[in-house]
């Protein structure tokens, strides 16, 4: 946040109270084509990033998992298979359109039992303290208005020893890659957005919001400040994406 009462919406500076509504607008607009766009934009690699997230989650049979900003349910569906009927997976998203697309998709896959759904704001999670063994937030944290508040809220609802995994776009570690990635994000991405989802502005926002998101070290510091311990990050695809992991102290 640059000054009191102001925050970023991509490269624009907007009132804190307005950001959630603006972000909601973006996701209402892209929800129906979100999966297709993710595949096209990342060349399918987002599936690999999510697979690695699941490996590092350490989630097992019987665990309770909260997938925040779980949108189209990729992670929640996989977690449901792992935890089994004796576990519990909550798919949460602040955006109604994304949540219903995700719920429909999982229902279509025949996944019912350990799954439940909650329209929830990551900053004010509506769950009891110490509820979850693992919380994931994939490509969601950068859209949250107050990231520190959200991290503290996640810490509260995690069980002691529980893990938070933040999968998010980050800063490429190589200059050449960084330039190519910039060119792609600002030239190709909005055009793809226009072509597939009929909305170039939303994808322009996505590209901008990625650049405004804290880099690897900054996010790690934020997690430590929020009270997580053993925080670490794993760069993927040359740092285009990073997976941060932190544990709630016992």
């Amino acid at each position: 946040m640059s000054e009191q009462g102001k925050t970023h919406f991509g490269y624009q500076e907007v009132d804190v109270d307005d950001k959630a509504g603006l972000v909601a607008g973006v996701f209402h607009s892209v929800a129906s084509r979100y999966d297709l766009m993710n595949d096209l934009m990342s060349g399918g690699i987002h599936r690999l990033w999510k697979r690695f997230t699941i490996e590092l989650s350490g989630v097992r049979k019987g665990h309770s998992v909260l997938d925040i900003a779980g949108g189209t349910g990729d992670l929640a569906g996989k977690f449901a298979d792992i935890v089994g009927p004796e576990g519990c997976v909550v798919l949460a998203d602040i955006n109604e359109s994304m949540l219903s697309v995700g719920r429909d998709k999982l229902l279509d896959q025949g996944k019912v039992e350990p799954l439940s759904y909650a329209q929830a704001d990551a900053q004010f999670l509506p769950f009891a303290d110490n509820s979850f063994d693992c919380i994931t937030i994939a490509f969601g944290l950068r859209n949250v208005t107050d990231k520190n508040l959200a991290l503290r809220s996640m810490l509260r609802v995690l069980k002691p020893g529980g893990r938070l995994l933040v999968l998010e776009f980050s800063k490429p570690t190589n200059d050449m890659l960084s330039k190519a990635y910039d060119a792609y994000s600002f030239n190709v991405l909005p055009k793809l957005g226009q072509l597939i989802a009929g909305d170039s502005d939303s994808y322009q926002y996505l590209a901008e919001s990625i650049r405004m998101h804290p880099d690897q070290e900054t996010l790690k510091e934020m997690m430590l400040d929020a009270g997580f311990e053993q925080c670490e990050f794993f760069n993927m695809t040359g740092g285009i994406v990073a997976l941060h992991r932190g544990l709630k102290p016992w």
Binding site: W49, R51, F52, E55, G58, N235, G238
Partner: protein
């Protein structure tokens, strides 16, 4: 143990994902193998390549999982450089590699052998899914290596016995070889004959003296 992958996790996960798909696609065509693997549900085996650093943990069950990161205790692990794996895979007789101890096995080695023998019974099409990730040329090479590695069980079962006997005889010299024994017995027979002849001579001399 926390395994820190040196390769980019994206590539690591892509390769393992492709291999996992290839194995799990082959499993239903070998129902006995699948049933035997299902009995080992939850056990895990780690394959460690030290140079270049690469690892995979195979979580056993009716459906196999290949994990780039596995933080629980594994049942067994095998470790060696890529060269050692490739040498073993390419060897006419891979059992030599095992006997010489280039690849180090820790933990429950029976679990490792069991997995190897079960996987060797599968006819896995490695090339197609791996080529989809890394291209045809690399896919063919990696596929060829994997095929050799996973056929170890078959090759080694037939030759292990012979190799083991060679090792005991030639390398460790715990026991004389068949040829050496035959030489030894021939020497004994010669000695026996010499003794017999000497004895006969002595008797003859004794008779002459008495006569």
């Amino acid at each position: 143990m926390v395994d820190r992958p040196k390769v980019d996790p994206t590539l690591h996960v892509a390769l393992l994902g492709a291999a996992e798909e290839a194995i799990n696609r082959a499993l239903p065509y070998a129902p006995q193998t699948q049933a035997a693997l299902a009995k080992l549900e939850g056990q895990s085996v780690q394959i460690f390549v030290t140079e270049p650093q690469f690892s995979v943990t195979i979580v056993l069950g009716g459906i196999l999982q290949l994990r780039s990161v596995y933080e629980d205790k594994v049942g067994a692990s095998i470790e060696g450089t890529l060269r050692e794996y490739l040498t073993a895979a390419a060897a006419d007789d891979p059992a030599i590699a095992l006997i010489n101890g280039n690849l180090r096995i820790r933990g429950d080695s029976r679990l490792m052998q069991k997995l190897q023998s079960l996987l060797s019974e599968l006819d896995i099409d490695w090339e197609a899914p791996i080529a989809a990730v890394v291209g045809d040329v690399a896919g063919h090479q990696i596929g060829k290596t994997l095929r050799s590695l996973f056929n170890w069980g078959k090759q080694s079962r037939s030759s292990l016995e012979r190799q083991l006997s060679e090792f005991i005889l030639e390398e460790a010299r715990f026991s004389p070889s068949k040829l050496e024994l035959e030489d030894f017995y021939r020497d004994i027979r010669k000695l026996q004959q010499s003794i017999d002849r000497t004895e006969a001579k002595l008797k003859r001399l004794a008779r002459q003296r008495a006569g």
